[in-house]
Amino acid sequence: MKNLSRKNLITLLLPSFLFIIFVFAVPIFYSIFISLHHYNILLPYHPFVGFKNYIKLFQDSVFWSSLKITLYFVVVAVTIELSLAMLIALLLNQDFKGREFLRVILMVPWAVPWVVNGIMWKWIFNSEFGVLNKLLLQIGIIEKNIKWLGKPFLALNMMIFADVWKETPFIAILLLAGLQAIPIDYYEAAEIEGANSWVKFCRITLPLLKPVTFVALSLRTIWAFKSFDLVYALTQGGPSQGTNLLNFYIYQTTFSHLDFGYGATLSLVLTIIILVITLLFYKFILTEEE
C-alpha cells in the first residue's frame, strides 16, 4: 500500500466509489427528495410540500397500527426463531447417528421461496380445506374448523408461525457454525472445575457465541422488518389490516395508491428504524464484549 501513489489509489478506489454513489447514495437522496414532494404519478404536478408527508405520517392511524403490528411480529418471530435455533444448534452439535442427514433436512424450509412458502401456508391454514384443521380434528384437539386467518390477531400469529418455520433453520445453521468454532478445551477445563451443563452453557457457550448471535439477530431483525412476500401471498394485510406490516403498507402506498412521495417518506422512516435497532444491537452485544 505504501508504494502506491495517491493517484493510483484514487484510480483503484474510483470504480467502487462510483458504484456506491450510484447504487446507494443516489437512490437514498432521491428518496429524500421525493419525500419532500406531493409526488403522485397520476397528478400533472409534483409540488414541493416540505415536511408535510412527515407530519401526515404522525397523524396516519394506519401507519401507527402497521408499526405496532410490525414490532410485535419482529419481536415475537425473532425471539422464537433465535430460541428454537439455539436448541436445534445445540442438538446438532452433539455426536449422534444421522446428524449429517438432519442438518441437510433442516435447510429444506429455508430453501423454499418466500412466495411458495406463503401460498403453501395459505392452503394449510385454509379454514375449509386446510390440512391443519383436518389434522387437529382427527386427533381430537378441536371439534370444529378454526378460521386461522379469519381474526386479525390470530392471523398475525399464524403468519409468525409460517415465518418461524421458514427462518429458524438459517439461524440454527449460523449458530451451529459458531458452536463448532468454540474450542473443546474450555469445556474440558470447566468440567475439571466441576461446572454442570447449565453453567457451561451460560459461562462459555453464550458469551463465545455473541458475535454470531449479533449477526443472526441483526440479519433476522432486518429481514423481519422487511417482510413483504409472506403478507402478500398469505393475507394481503388483512383481515382488518391486522397483518398489515409496515413494508406491505409502503408497497400499497407506493404502487397501489401511486403516492410515491408518501411511500418514500414511509420507506425512509423504516430505514431509520432498522438502522437504530442495528446500532443498538451492536452497542449492547458487541461493544460490551470488547
Binding site: 406531493h38 403522485n40 404519478i41 397520476l42 397528478l43 385454509n126 379454514s127 375449509e128 380445506f129 378460521k147 386467518l149 379469519g150 381474526k151 386479525p152 392471523a155 393475507t235 394481503q236 388483512g238 383481515p239 382488518s240 389490516q241 400499497q252 404502487f255 397501489s256 395508491h257 401511486l258 403516492d259
Partner: protein, 415 residues
C-alpha cells in the same frame, strides 16, 4: 481477417433484416381459452407481422402496466385495460384516441355502455374485449331440501331468512361464503349487494353516501348473516377463487361470483355440485333493479407505438366477432359486440354455454364501480371496513363511516 469480415457481414445482414420486420408487443392478462394465442398466430400468418405477447397474472398486471405507462408505454404497442383500472390508466395519458382509427360504424358494433365507459375526456381509449359481472349462483338441491323456491327471493332480507332454513335443513355448512379478502372482491360481497339493493357509493359530486341508509343496511345484513351463523365468517380471509372452491365442494348453498366462476361451478370436471348449480338474478331491494357490479376488459394502443396501424388491425381481429365468440365459448367471458347478443350467433353460444342468456341478463342491468382514479385505495379502505364489520371489530355504521372519511381524504389527495 476473413473470419472477422464474415462475422461482420452476418451481423450487418441480421441488423438489416431486423430493421425491416415489424414486431408488435402486447401486455395482457392470462389467456383464458387460448384465444389470444390462436388469433395472434393467425394475425402473424396473414400479415407477416410478428407479435410478442407478455401474459401477466392478475396479481401483477396493475403494477406492470402502471410502470409501463410511466415510461411511455414501456415499449408495448397494445395494453390490456381492465375496467377497474380504466380511470387511472387513462389519466396517465399514454393511449391514442381510437376515434381516429375506427369508423363510426365499427364503433357502433360494440355495446354502447362499454364504449362510453372506456372513453375519457372525450377520447375513446379502449376497444371493449369482454364483459362480465357478479352473479348469484345457487345449489338447487340445498334450496329444495330447505323447501325454498329461489325465485321467491326478491330482497336480501328474504335471502337471509331463507339462509336460516337452508343451513338447518340441508347439508350446506353455510348458506353463503362472501369473498372479502382483496379490495377487488367488492364485486362479490358488499359492493354488489349495495348496488342490488338500489344503493350507491357516491353522489354526483363524489361525496360518499354508502355510509348512510341502504349502504349501512346492506352491510348490516351481511353482518347479521354472520352473527346468525348462516354466512361464513371466514370470508374475510378468502378470495373469490377460494369461495368458488367452497361452493364447488358443496359447503355453501349459494355464492356471488364472477361470470367465469359461475361457469366453473357448473363444470362436472371441476365441481361436485355441477348438476345442481343454477344461476338467477341477484336479489335486490324492495323497489330496485337487481343489477350488481359489472366489469370488462379492453385493449388500448399506446401513443408511443411505432406501428399503430398494425396494432389497430390486431385489436380489430382480437375483438372481432369470431374471436369474441370463441372467447365466450372456451374462455367463459361475455362478449362486447352487439351481434353476439342476437340471432344465430346467440344461439350458437347458448348451445355451448347453456346459462349464457341468464348471465347476459344480469350484466345488462349491472353498473361499473366508481369511475375515479382513486378507485384502488378507496376499494382497499372499503375492504377493511367490510372485514372490520364482519369480524365484529366495529359496527357496520362505524366501519362505513371510517371508510367514508378515508374516501374523502383519498379524494382530496387527487385534487
Amino acid at each position: 481477417m476473413k473470419k472477422t469480415l464474415f462475422l461482420t457481414l452476418i451481423l450487418v445482414l441480421t441488423f438489416c433484416l431486423s430493421m425491416g420486420a415489424v414486431t408488435l408487443k402486447m401486455l395482457v392478462r392470462p389467456d383464458e381459452g387460448g384465444v389470444i394465442e390462436l388469433y395472434t398466430k393467425e394475425f402473424e400468418k396473414l400479415t407477416g407481422v410478428k407479435v410478442v405477447v407478455d401474459y401477466i397474472g392478475w396479481d401483477q398486471i396493475s403494477i406492470k402496466t402502471t410502470t409501463a405507462l410511466m415510461h411511455k408505454g414501456g415499449g408495448y404497442d397494445i395494453i390490456f385495460i381492465p375496467s377497474a383500472e380504466k380511470s387511472r390508466f387513462a389519466a396517465m395519458g399514454q393511449f391514442v384516441d381510437l376515434n381516429e382509427w375506427f369508423t363510426e360504424d365499427e364503433k357502433n358494433e360494440f355495446l354502447k355502455s362499454f364504449v362510453d365507459y372506456y372513453s375519457h375526456e372525450g377520447q375513446w381509449i379502449g376497444v371493449p374485449w369482454y364483459s362480465g359481472g357478479a352473479h348469484f349462483v345457487y345449489n338447487e338441491k340445498y334450496f329444495q331440501d330447505a323447501n325454498v323456491n329461489p325465485e321467491d327471493l326478491s330482497t336480501w332480507q328474504d335471502v337471509l331468512n331463507a339462509s336460516k332454513a337452508i343451513v338447518e335443513k340441508s347439508n350446506a355448512e353455510y348458506a353463503f361464503t362472501p369473498s372479502c379478502k382483496y379490495p377487488g372482491n367488492y364485486y362479490y360481497n358488499y359492493g354488489t349487494i349495495l348496488l342490488a339493493m338500489g344503493g350507491q357509493f357516491f353522489d354526483e359530486n363524489l361525496n360518499p353516501v354508502f355510509n348512510t341508509g341502504i349502504g349501512v343496511e346492506a352491510l348490516e345484513l351481511l353482518v347479521e348473516g354472520v352473527n346468525q351463523g348462516v354466512f361464513n365468517p371466514a370470508g374475510v380471509s378468502l378470495d373469490d377463487y377460494e369461495t368458488l372452491k367452497i361452493f364447488q365442494a358443496g359447503k355453501s348453498a349459494f355464492m356471488i361470483n364472477s361470470t367465469w366462476s359461475a361457469n366453473q361451478a357448473m363444470l362436472p370436471e371441476a365441481s361436485t355440485v355441477a348438476d345442481y348449480a343454477k344461476v338467477r338474478m341477484i336479489p335486490g331491494g324492495k323497489n330496485s333493479e337487481t343489477g350488481g357490479l359489472i366489469y370488462g376488459g379492453a385493449f388500448g394502443i399506446t401513443k408511443a407505438s411505432q406501428y399503430k396501424e398494425e396494432a389497430v388491425e390486431l385489436v380489430k381481429l382480437l375483438t372481432g366477432t369470431e374471436a369474441q365468440m370463441m372467447h365466450a365459448i372456451s374462455g367463459f367471458n361475455l362478449p362486447t359486440r352487439n351481434s353476439l347478443f342476437e340471432g344465430s350467433r346467440l344461439e350458437a353460444i347458448n348451445k355451448a354455454w347453456p346459462v349464457y342468456g341468464e348471465l347476459v341478463a344480469q350484466v345488462e342491468v349491472g353498473s361499473f364501480g366508481p369511475d375515479v382514479v382513486w378507485l384502488d385505495p378507496f376499494r382497499r379502505a372499503l375492504a377493511t371496513a367490510v372485514q372490520d364489520a364482519i369480524s365484529g371489530k366495529k359496527t357496520a355504521k362505524e366501519a362505513l363511516d371510517w371508510a367514508a372519511r378515508q374516501a374523502i381524504d383519498i379524494k382530496s389527495q387527487y385534487e
